[in-house]
């Protein structure tokens, strides 16, 4: 979770340094967004603490070495404004510190069904009660079905600092190398998920184990089909090199096409997607594409993911005319397997 400081409530828990002043660590518990922003402004670079599921994993070694280096911590547990969920006519608005379990309890009538399924299959009971949507979005690992779906749905993020407020698309949150664009006093406060009138939706996690915290690879596809032609389509790919990939150009190519798609269309798309995914593997392409190849990118696991993603995407495109069929196949297997571990 990514958020920032607020004014200390009357008495912040301040820990005097045990050995030296630099070891002192301040922890703030702001009560409102305003307080939070003020605090963060005064203490840029603070650790924003929400659910803890990501940060505690990351901090483990640091703790074991005996301390967290003295960066101030801003805990979001008391900021009520960040835990609101509001349903509007055209979108669902979710506070950044809303735990996933809240979204699960709201149900699939309000949360888009595909997203809902991804949420109830994320981690397990204890994790879902802690992990927050904002935390998931801001974490350095874009490695879950939830994020992949949010990319496809063009979720918007409200970014605030003491000076300004603005909305960005989720795809704009991170640079090509995976680093966040937020500056040291900016914080994610709300997430907006547009209700699109999709009449085809499909999401599939697959790979070598059933744990959705570490899936093999993820495909999410949404489409609106009217009168046997593609009005709008979204395709996003997750689990590759830790990033979610979505390519607007490919979607544009498909828009307006009649279904079923012709062989020619499909092979064009296939070559486009091959280029796109391969871009993630070939280090020589880094400069051209601006995409960072991860160290693991040239191993067989990654190439398995890439070619399976391609197959699944083509299958999705091939079956756009059968909405019921899309609902049945795939995904199911993974979902069931979650019962064990």
């Amino acid at each position: 979770m990514k958020e920032r400081p607020a004014k200390p409530k009357k008495q912040p828990v301040t820990i005097p340094g045990v050995k030296s002043a630099s070891a002192a660590q301040t922890i703030f518990f702001p009560r409102s967004i305003k307080e939070l922003l003020t605090l963060y402004n005064k203490n840029p670079g603070s650790i924003i603490f929400a659910g803890g599921t990501g940060i505690m994993m990351n901090r483990r070694s640091e703790r074991e070495r005996g301390g967290a280096g003295g960066r101030p911590v801003i805990s979001l547990k008391r900021v009520q404004d960040l835990t609101k969920v509001v349903r509007r006519e055209r979108f669902l608005e979710i506070g950044a510190a809303v735990p996933l379990s809240r979204l699960a309890s709201i149900g699939s009538r309000i949360v888009p069904k595909t997203l809902y399924n991804a949420i109830i299959n994320y981690g397990y009971y204890g994790t879902r009660n802690l992990a927050t949507l904002g935390g998931l979005i801001c974490s350095p690992w874009d490695y879950s079905e939830i994020i992949t779906i949010l990319y496809a749905l063009d979720a918007q993020l409200e970014i605030r600092s003491i000076a300004h407020t603005g909305w960005i698309l989720i795809s704009g949150l991170k640079k090509a190398d995976g680093e966040s664009i937020l500056s040291e006093n900016e914080i994610l406060t709300r997430v907006r998920i547009p209700y699109g009138s999709w009449n085809r939706s499909y999401s599939r996690v697959f790979g070598m184990d059933g744990s959705s915290t570490y899936p093999g690879a993820i495909f999410s596809g949404f489409a609106r089909i009217e009168k046997e032609s593609i009005e709008d389509i979204r395709l996003s790919f997750g689990g590759i090199g830790n990033r979610v990939i979505r390519e607007r150009n490919i979607e544009m190519t498909l828009q307006g096409k009649k279904i079923p798609l012709t062989e020619k269309d499909l092979s064009l798309i296939e070559s486009q997607i091959t280029d796109l995914l391969d871009g993630f593997y070939k280090p020589k392409d880094i400069k051209e594409t601006g995409v960072l190849a991860t160290p693991a990118s040239i191993n067989p696991v990654e190439s398995y993911r890439a070619s399976a993603l391609k197959r699944i995407m083509l299958w999705f495109l091939n079956n756009l005319e059968y909405p019921d069929y899309l609902g049945q196949i795939g995904g199911l297997q993974n979902r069931q397997s979650k019962l064990y571990f």
Binding site: V13, I15, G17, V18, A23, A24, Q25, I27, F29, F49, G51, G52, T53, M56, M57, R59, R60, E62, R63, G66, G67, A68, G70, V73, S75, K77, S101, A104, I120, N121, G123, Y124, Y125, G126, T127, N129, L130, A131, S211, T213, K338, L339, Y340, F341
Partner: protein
């Protein structure tokens, strides 16, 4: 190491504790308080072994740093019977775990208790929702699910 003091309610008692800021609740419980019923295994948020109730919700003790405990109410397996609501620990052990104890059982007990605190009459989906990812491949998953269903029936009979 930077230590801090927090006040919290643990198993029904108000206490004050001092510990390193980033020490996780799991280690605090086991090493500082001797409450060893909460167990852990690998890293944070992976194995589902360390469930406790925080403000009535099932959470992973390994993902909660010490400072977050300020003003919270924590219930561990040792204090689970202080929550009077159905079902109590021995009932879960006999009906769900069939009187078999393994390294993971305490976690399963916490998950079941948390489920019943959240939903009065959990349905099949709720049960799966609560137990998925918590059972290990060697657990008798079907038996456990049946056991929870039995508890739901018992509760509804009592209500009637």
């Amino acid at each position: 190491m930077v230590k801090t003091e927090v006040a919290l309610k643990l198993n029904g008692k108000n206490i004050k504790l001092k510990a390193p800021v980033w020490k996780n609740l799991l280690d605090v419980l086991r090493e500082d308080l001797g409450l060893v019923g909460t167990r852990g295994s690998q890293g944070a948020g992976n194995c589902g072994l360390c469930l406790v109730l925080k403000n009535g919700k099932t959470v992973d003790a390994c993902s909660i740093p010490f400072f977050e405990l300020m003003d919270t109410e924590i219930v561990t397996i040792e204090g689970i019977n202080l929550i009077k609501e159905f079902p109590d620990r021995s009932l879960i052990i006999s009906e769900v775990l069939k009187n078999t104890v393994s390294y993971r059982s305490n976690s399963i007990i916490m998950a079941v208790k948390g489920l019943f605190l959240e939903k009065t009459f959990p349905g099949d989906d709720d049960i799966k929702y609560a137990l998925s990812g918590i059972l290990s491949p060697v657990d008798d998953s079907n038996g456990i699910i049946q056991g929870v269903k039995k508890l739901v029936n018992m509760r509804s009979r009592r209500r009637r």
